[in-house]
């Protein structure tokens, strides 16, 4: 069955008008919209930052897609609601000042965004949340594909969200230092990107998604070389981070040849569901809402992720 993306919206460190928001600690920080214009202010007051980012991009996506109520809501998050998790943990672990806040606990759970979206839409539909670190978004997309291919529904709202907090930045930096990973690293990031998927033809087509079985990525190699032999107007977005973990990409790079390639994390930073940002960027490029010098009018975009000790993934989108 052919599947299409008929609407998308994202909050990230990159804005085609405002450029890139990159702070002095080498971090990609989201350029956030005026939420009051998108979410009821009474609701807004009780919402954490990641909830705002998620709900606002979900609402915008449905607006763009002219979908009132999707028939499924699927979210992906690698680390969940980190700010609330961190707040609750820090207070709990400080014996002298143990003022734990129930709201932080309630909102610390990974499915908080999915639940909020359902409540906002007053929808009883299918609702699921995937959290498989860097593969979370691809797995949520797989769920969406399976639901649509089953033919019982025709519209899915899908999103990937992760937030960067001071605590995460501090601890992850320590971890990277311990693992000597930081040299050349683009920086940590965050973002929320949502998509409306449908079986009804639309501007962007989902040509393929391939998840390799663990480290055997022959399928992905074959797919890319077969595709590139036929289609010259292709852009490849890679999930490279700038550091030595990029070595995992080496096995496929000779296949890319002279194909235009962009390391998309230079625009959003590194975070578990950054693949959602890449898919959003691909949709914008295919519809010429954003134009890059590397390739003026791509017809095909392949998003390729290679991870050390994890399955490789490919998402292929085309403009119609």
């Amino acid at each position: 069955m052919d599947l299409y993306i008929n609407g998308t919206s994202s909050i990230s460190a990159f804005d085609s008008q405002q450029g890139l928001r990159f702070d002095n600690k080498n971090r990609f920080i989201c350029i956030e919209p005026d939420y009051k214009l998108i979410i009821d202010p009474r609701q807004l007051r009780r919402m954490s930052r990641i909830m705002r980012m998620g709900l606002a991009s979900a609402i915008k996506t449905l607006e763009v897609a002219s979908v009132q109520t999707p028939q499924a809501v699927i979210t992906a998050t690698g680390l969940g609601c980190l700010d609330d998790t961190g707040n609750f943990l820090v207070k709990m672990c400080d014996p002298d000042n143990r003022m734990m806040n129930p709201t932080a606990f309630i909102q610390s759970i990974h499915n908080t965004m999915g639940g909020q979206i359902a409540m906002h839409l007053k929808s009883n539909c299918y609702n699921n949340t995937f959290t498989q670190d860097v593969l979370s978004f691809e797995h949520a997309l797989l769920d969406a594909i399976m639901l649509l291919e089953a033919g019982t529904i025709e519209s899915v709202l899908l999103g990937g969200i992760d937030e960067l907090t001071e605590l995460k930045h501090e601890l992850t930096s320590r971890l990277y230092k311990a693992q000597k990973l930081c040299e050349g690293y683009f920086g940590q990031g965050e973002g929320s990107a949502f998509f409306s998927l449908s079986s009804v033809p639309s501007a962007v087509k989902l040509e393929a998604m391939i998840l390799s079985q663990n480290s055997k990525h022959g399928d992905i190699c074959d797919y890319i070389s077969n595709h590139l032999a036929l289609e010259k107007k292709t852009l490849i977005l890679t999930g490279k981070c700038g550091d030595k973990s990029d070595e995992a990409y080496k096995s496929l790079e000779n296949i890319f040849g002279s194909t235009a390639t962009i390391d998309y994390k230079k625009f959003c930073g590194d975070y578990p569901t950054s693949c959602a940002f890449a898919a959003w960027l691909a949709c914008e490029l295919l519809q010429q809402k954003i134009i890059f010098d590397a390739i003026a009018q791509p017809k095909h975009i392949i998003i390729y992720h290679a991870y050390p000790d994890r399955p490789h993934t490919l998402i292929h989108l085309s403009g119609c």
């Binding site: 809501v73 690698g78 680390l79 969940g80 609750f88 943990l89 820090v90 709990m92 672990c93 400080d94 014996p95 143990r98 734990m100 806040n101 129930p102 606990f105 309630i106 909102q107 610390s108 759970i109 990974h110 499915n111 908080t112 999915g114 639940g115 909020q116 359902a118 409540m119 839409l121 007053k122 929808s123 009883n124 539909c125 299918y126 609702n127 699921n128 949340t129 995937f130 959290t131 498989q132 670190d133 593969l135 979370s136 797995h139 769920d143 399976m146 291919e149 089953a150 501090e170 601890l171 320590r174 971890l175 311990a178 998840l211 079985q213 663990n214 578990p272």
Partner: protein, 395 residues
């Protein structure tokens, strides 16, 4: 294509494996013997269903590193039992591991934070590397050789049930031959304090579906099913225990932490799961309730059952009166319990029930009773309004 259950594993405070859990259920022996103070000395005294082994003992039992978070240790033991009981060689097939968890490696993260909160440069950073929920699944999948597809769902207390439903679909659509699916969660200070700030903990043993219920007891554990396609079951002459005949996910869409009084999400999940199997509500012989023993959950679930089953209410019981509420693992543990009930043609007793809830008058099973069962429903509902029901049928 039909999806069958060819193996099971379960580890709770009331039993270390399937047979141990079944005898505890039939003999009405619960596992809620520890205190919240065993985990967090600063907390009030609440009963918890803690598995008596230390992390080092669990690691030795499982033959894995002592650095694994407790959630992974509990999970791998149940997953190893499930794998062994299936007798299947996973390396010959496309085998996946699909798991639900809510806390991930939180117990280890907490240890880091106890040092870090005193001194920002203290704490071993290696204690947080397995914090993410997905890391837990990765560790377990590698150990049981179910590595062709590994994913994790976190829909709060319905995580494991959603994992089983998703795994069934992966097999039905031909993407996997075998999936080990269920969930695992360890007790942590984080969840204990969280539920305590929400005033959801009972300071006595919990009483699901009783009029005087005051809240839940938290527990820990893991439960996994080995799901296989019809084809694989036939090829290998698998001892098939039941079929996954229906599953459904619905949002209650009412409130982040409470269910609607009329139980819209629970009703839709149960109704759709039964419909998927081409059955009517009358065909269900037993429901393993979500039954957390909070005033809100049991009333909402009870009302949904009354609306759906009207004049012919099946046998119902909540086995959280044995295991406590094991959060993200509960759907996996209770899936195993549901299949045990079906396979042994027995109801499972609900402990400490005396007075029915006003308005519903539902009376759960209080004795293990031999009964002819063809279809058993298992309910799981979570924060965020995430409801999931699974239907298991006799083969």
């Amino acid at each position: 294509m039909k999806v069958f259950i060819a193996g099971m594993g379960v580890f709770t405070a009331s039993g270390e494996n399937c047979s141990g859990n079944l005898s505890a259920l039939l003999e009405k022996r619960h596992g809620i013997h520890a205190s919240s103070r065993d985990i967090d000395t600063l907390m009030g005294d609440f009963p918890i269903a803690k598995i008596a082994y230390t992390n080092n003992e669990l690691a030795a039992k499982a033959g894995v590193s002592t650095s694994w978070p407790r959630t992974a240790l509990l999970g791998v033991i149940a997953a190893q039992e499930a794998t062994a009981s299936s007798g299947l060689d996973f390396t010959k097939y496309r085998a996946g591991f699909i798991s639900g968890t809510t806390v991930g490696g939180m117990d280890s993260t907490e240890n880091f934070f106890y040092s870090y909160s005193k001194n920002k440069t203290a704490g071993h950073i290696s204690q947080i590397i397995n914090h993410e929920c997905g890391k837990i699944s990765h560790l377990i999948a590698e150990n049981i050789q179910a590595k062709d597809f590994v994913t994790t769902l976190n829909t709060a207390c319905s995580s494991a049930a959603n994992a089983i439903a998703f795994a069934t679909r992966m097999i039905k659509t031909g993407r996997l031959d075998i999936a080990v699916a269920g969930g695992t969660d360890a007790l942590t200070a984080f969840t204990l304090n969280g539920f305590n700030t929400l005033l959801l903990l009972d300071d006595e043993l919990c009483r699901p579906f009783d009029a005087r219920r005051k809240g839940l007891n938290l527990g820990e554990g893991a439960g996994y099913l080995v799901l296989v396609s019809e084809e694989i079951a036939r090829q290998n002459n698998c001892p098939v225990m039941a079929e996954v005949s229906g599953y459904a996910n619905a949002s209650d869409s009412f409130h982040q932490t409470t269910l609607s009084d009329e139980g819209n999400g629970p009703y839709l999940a149960m109704e759709s799961a039964i419909k998927m199997a081409g059955l009517s509500a009358y065909d269900v012989g037993y429901i393993n309730l979500h039954g957390t023993a909070t005033p809100n959950n049991d009333l909402s679930e009870g009302n949904a059952i009354l609306r759906l089953f009207t004049d012919k209410i099946p046998a119902v019981s909540s086995t959280k009166s044995y295991t406590g509420h094991t959060l993200g693992a509960s759907g996996g543990i209770e899936a195993v319990y549901s299949v045990l009930a079906l396979f042994n043609q027995t109801t499972l007793p609900n402990l400490r029930f005396e007075i029915s809830m006003p308005g519903t008058e539902l009376i759960p099973e209080t004795e293990a009773r031999k009964i002819e069962l063809r279809h058993v429903l298992s309910n799981s509902f979570g924060f965020g309004g995430n409801c999931c029901s699974l239907l298991f049928s006799k083969v």
